[in-house]
Symmetry: C2
Subunit: 155 residues, 2 copies
């Protein structure tokens, strides 16, 4: 039910960059402050996304991060393969070392079809799509300020 924080930050950051005009480098500082995540930690994640060939990075003034050409067609699965490792779709839900029809745990037959749905979803959601959804204003990338979360709190 859970992605690691690292994966969540990576996805959020990439969608955010995808909402910005392509070609204009975006500062790590700006992303972190918009998403409200720790800047130094996010910087590490950005580095690994560069190494995974999803981003370009530019140092110095006017530096920052840009999506690589075509990276707006990147889907979430490609990102998660970087951040969660290549085996994350192949794991047994009960933690057995091997998940296959031949070595199935008692959840296997029910779990695999759902897993397939998840994988299909991750494969079809591209940064472009997700960025557009955000741009409509109907969907958000960061938390609402706490003041808005419990508006009935006022006396």
């Amino acid at each position: 039910m859970i992605l690691s924080r690292t994966s969540q930050y990576a996805i959020q950051a990439l969608i955010f960059i995808a909402t910005r005009p392509p070609g204009e480098p975006v500062l790590n500082r700006e992303i972190a402050s918009y998403l409200n995540v720790p800047p130094a930690y996010l910087a590490k994640i950005m580095q690994s996304l560069c190494k995974g060939n999803l981003l370009y990075s530019y140092r110095g003034r006017l530096g920052g991060f840009c999506l690589r050409e075509g990276a707006s067609k990147t889907d979430l699965m490609q990102i998660l393969l970087l951040t969660e490792g290549p085996s994350f779709t192949q794991e047994c839900v009960l933690g057995l070392k091997v998940c296959s029809d031949a070595t199935a745990c008692p959840m296997h037959t029910k779990w695999v079809p759902i897993k397939k749905k998840v994988v299909a979803l991750l494969n079809e959601q591209t940064l472009e799509k997700l960025a557009r959804a955000v741009q409509t204003g109907k969907y958000r990338l960061s938390d609402l300020p706490t003041s808005l979360l419990a508006p009935m709190r006022r006396a």
Copy 2:
């Protein structure tokens, strides 16, 4: 895509107990060795399952753990509520603090239906069902010995 090890051990252990004759206490040591998990760690998990009212525990000779009456009707969701905490089905896939239609992230509309399927599955899989599946011999609770995992290894 991932349950914590704690949850995986808890589920495995409970299914194992459910495959045993009810009323006869099962030793922690026996469970741990069958499932091939760290005994001292499993003992902690068993303790918390007792506190969560899924198990009875008996100390001393002839001690061990038994399912509580009716616990074979326990479903996986009840177990996970103990081991993962009460909010684990309500979390945003991208990590936003609140997941709701009104504060949706760009994955929300696609993710929630899948989440519902997962929840429904967890709600319908009882220890009884899962234990029976294991008893048929077609499904396993523990890993195969490594010697069997790569049978082509022999010269």
